[in-house]
Amino acid sequence: MSLGRAGGRRWTRVAVLGLLLVASGCNSNQSVTNPATTPASDIATLWWAMFAGAMVIFALVLGLLVLAYVRRGRPGSGGDDRGPYRVILGGGLAAPIVVLSILFIFVIRVMPAVSAPPPGSTKLTVDVIGHQWFWEVRYPGTAAVTANEIHIPARTPVNLVARTADVIHSFWVPRLNRKIDMIPGRTNRIELDAPQTGVYPGQCSEFCGLEHADMGLEVVVQTPAAFRAWLADQARPARAPTTPQELQGRQVFLTASCADCHTIRGTPAVGRAGPDLTHVGSRQTIAALTLPNTPSSLFDWITNPQLYKPGARMPGFASLPASTRRALVAYLESLT
């Protein structure tokens, strides 16, 4: 609405610096006041309007308290209530009715922007399924399944369908839209329609157990052409291993307990408890943004996941020889 994106960012700075000694100079990628879409910026506008109004009201009340302090020595009216009544009815009854009516109308006008997209109004549907503690991402109509990284095309209304495989989670990418809970037995939807390419971080925001804190996700907004290419890649079965080490790694994957929980399409591994690893090598992070997806951190993760994400469902494989684990890493990283 009226406040542009840049304006929003600038105002965040002013508010943060002005109101508190501790300024957050860093990353505001997950900030509510840094909207990248129409619904998110409608919400930010609503926020700034409420913030301004709230500050005026707060100042008024502080003014009354200061007045009381300044006049503390003077005798009062002696208990005559007529003066106070006027202020109390004006400030406590009449003014709130006016202010709240304006706010209520504002709220009703913003609500359609953040609602689920009407059927048929979107060009692409993405299924996101919350798990303890990662996000399963599916593209209906294709074989593509990935985790924690949601790719969508820019300037395209996307119907995001939010479901859960276990407990309640909440899908939240603040710069793109409001959050939406993932509740057993229910199918919730929101719209993602990002005008610009980029990476938009998000995080589970309903307490979902031990690793609620490490359940991050990223929405990667690509140009429509890049997105189509990416989707076609993801829909393909896994790449066959090419080096002996990768071959050994695949063997380990299928014979150690990995395949009980993970799927690699095109192999006998069809486990559903953990993320689909068919194209794990193409992802930027592992363990729901807990670690960067590099061979060394993948090696560490396989060795002892509990060190990085205590409580994670994945067991450690320190019992496997280091060379075996290295082979496994080589195989997984080859799955681009």
Binding site: V22, N29, S31, G76, P84, I168, K179, H212, G311
Partner: protein
């Protein structure tokens, strides 16, 4: 305003008779069997402050863990137990027991001119049940099996499938026990305020603190059953395999949320209303002016409680309910601002129009007004549906509700601790240390909770045991942690002030501050029977009516309304406060504490799945109840 005159010889004799009639067993067993509302109130205060210390320690551990990104002071398993226990402790074991059980018990009979609560033994039972629920909960923490699904305990995270240990069973059964305790306490307050008011205390002369307790009690009576039902459903699901919340079998996880918040939001007002009551007690005393717009303030207290029942879905705005469902609750969440606004302006205008003297209790009330306005304003933003859908379950919400239930609900309680300290102990607290402590606590509160607004707006979800450095939430969290320790040091000073003053403070008169309500018309500390003569009142600030109090003294000498022949108090009509009966009151009894012990043990048996033995304890409880009611209060011959 009124000083206690030395009683005439005839009056002295009557007072000695009352002393004998109302004397209770001395020593430790006296505390176990007491039915004196003041002693029960003090036990509530003591127990809830112990729980407060525990809940505060939990908070400090959490803040230490969150001081910087990626720290590992505690792991997620411990952290989740700490955060859950912190919430449960502060709500069910600290604020409510302290403000309603402690302040309410001690003050309501004194303020309405009665000699005790309507049901003294049930009052004792309320306390012991509350203590039992607290002991159960903390036993679970000692076993490292404490509730760990957050204080609102959403299913299916709290279901047997995802939380198979006894953690949630402790939560469920301890809160049922706690709920029974609170329901009994609320019923007691309702009947006490309806029936035991001093003659002449019509509806329009009930002290505003008692109006607040009345509103709170109404809320408790109607809100707690929703929680009880919810807990029963959950326990049936967990222990016997029912399907109330199992989506695969026709149940609905949102049913838990609906029922929880039908209780949970009125609960927020239950927490904050007694604080309003304390504020409306302290402000008139220190401004030497009656509360401005008294009828509207009384009404506003009741309306907050009432409309509070119609806002619960604002905790569920992000669950994907139809927007037409949400809007009912958005409307009510906005309109509830009006009664709050009326009170805020009434407090401010009383300060402006009176002659305020900013002593420690009043300072805490000023702090309370600031926090309540601030937290109220952030509350309005959460009633705006789309904004709530953006920031719910983030630290913004944590900031908001700590401004409200720490800043607004507990500050008056802290002020009240100072204000009624002379009444309870007969000694004065240290005024200058009190004021310094206020500033420390006020600063600590802001430094702790204000930055949380920002970390929430920057996208930090609540209930995370840690956060990665790349999110950039470190500075805000460090500030919060520093603030928490400042806050804690302020609270330690407060405790030190009161503990030392208890033994070394200057002696306090009956009415050191010139208060307007009846508790200031009796000695400090008050005798077991509260008033040597049942006072007759003609205004809402009877202690400022010197003629009436002089008339009381004359009635004492003449033996009218002294009730010196039995363990008795008067009852009056509920609306207009006309005298209608003299009632024999039950004396001390061992059965309430016994019954509470049996109930607590019974629930522990259910938690450990010893169902048959638990059934035996039900039979024992029935027998205890029969024995209890075999002892009847008797009027004087």
């Amino acid at each position: 305003m009124t000083a206690i005159q030395p009683p005439a010889p005839a009056a002295q004799e009557r007072i000695e008779r009352l002393d004998r009639i109302w004397a209770e067993r001395p020593g430790f067993t006296g505390w176990l069997t007491t039915t004196d509302h003041k002693r029960i109130g003090l036990m509530y205060v003591a127990a809830s402050l112990v729980f407060f210390a525990l809940g505060g320690a939990e908070a400090l551990i959490m803040r230490t863990q969150l001081a910087g990104p990626g720290r590992h002071v505690v792991g997620p398993s411990t952290y989740d137990q700490l955060l859950t226990m912190h919430g449960i402790t502060m709500i069910f074991l600290f604020v409510i027991p302290l403000s309603i059980g402690g302040f309410g018990n001690y003050l309501v009979p004194l303020m309405i001119g009665s000699r005790d609560m309507a049901f003294p033994r049930m009052n004792a039972l309320s306390f012991w049940l509350f203590l039992g629920s607290g002991i159960l909960l903390y036993a679970s923490l000692l076993l490292h099996e404490a509730p760990n699904a957050g204080w609102f305990n959403y299913v299916p995270l709290a279901s047997r499938r995802f939380d198979p240990g006894p953690n949630i069973d402790f939560y469920t059964l301890a809160l049922i026990l706690n709920g029974v305790s609170s329901t009994a306490a609320a019923a007691n307050f309702l009947v006490t305020i309806a029936k035991l008011r001093a003659p002449g205390m019509s509806l329009n002369r009930i002290p505003l603190f008692c109006f607040a307790i009345l509103a709170t009690s109404f809320s408790l009576v109607f809100a707690l059953p929703a929680l009880t039902a919810d807990l029963v459903f959950l326990e049936l699901d967990r222990k016997l395999g029912f399907h109330f919340f199992d989506a695969a079998r026709g149940g609905d996880p949102l049913l838990w949320q609906d029922l929880f918040w039908i209780f949970g939001h009125p609960e927020v007002y239950i927490i904050v209303l007694p604080a309003f009551g304390i504020a409306t007690s302290i402000i008139p005393t220190f401004t030497r002016r009656k509360m401005a717009a008294f009828p509207l303030v009384a009404l506003a207290e009741l309306l907050v409680a009432f409309i509070g029942f119609g806002v619960w879905v604002h905790h569920m705005f992000a669950t994907g309910l139809p927007q037409t469902t949400l809007i009912f609750f958005a409307a009510a969440s906005l309109i509830i601002v009006i009664p709050s606004g009326i009170q805020i302006f009434a407090w401010c205008m009383t300060l402006v129009d009176g002659t305020p003297e900013f002593k420690t209790p009043l300072l805490f009330i000023v702090g309370f007004i600031i926090f309540f306005v601030f937290g109220g304003l952030s509350g309005i933003t959460l009633a705006a549906v789309p904004f709530d859908q953006q920031v719910t379950d983030t630290y913004y919400v944590v900031a908001h509700f700590h401004y409200v239930i720490w800043g607004a609900a507990v500050f008056p309680v802290l002020g009240g601790l100072y204000y009624w300290f002379p009444k309870v102990t007969g000694r004065m607290y240290h005024e200058r240390l009190g004021q310094a402590t206020f500033w420390l606590i006020f600063a600590g509160t802001n430094i702790t909770f204000f930055p949380m607004h920002i970390s929430g707006m920057l996208g930090m979800p609540r209930r995370v045991w840690t956060y990665p450095a790349r999110m950039g939430w470190g500075p805000e969290n460090l500030a919060s942690t520093i603030g928490a320790f400042i806050l804690a040091s302020g609270l330690v000073l407060l405790a030190a002030n009161l503990v030392v003053s208890r033994f070394r403070g200057a002696p306090a008169s009956a009415d050191p501050f010139g208060g307007g309500t009846l508790e200031w018309s009796t000695s400090s500390p008050p005798p077991a029977y509260n008033f040597a003569v049942i006072p007759v009142v003609t205004s809402a600030y009877p202690c400022w009516d010197a003629d009436d109090r002089a008339a009381d003294a004359r009635r004492l000498a003449a033996g009218q309304l002294v009730l010196e022949h039995g363990h008795e108090t008067t009852t009056t009509t509920p609306v207009d406060g006309h005298l209608d009966d003299v009632l024999a009151m039950p004396a001390e009894s061992i059965w309430p504490v016994t019954l509470a012990a049996v109930c607590t043990v019974g629930l522990a048996l259910v938690i450990s799945s010893h169902y048959v033995t638990a059934l035996v304890s039900v039979a024992v409880a029935a027998a205890v109840l029969a024995a209890w009611h075999a002892v009847e209060p008797r009027s004087a011959a």
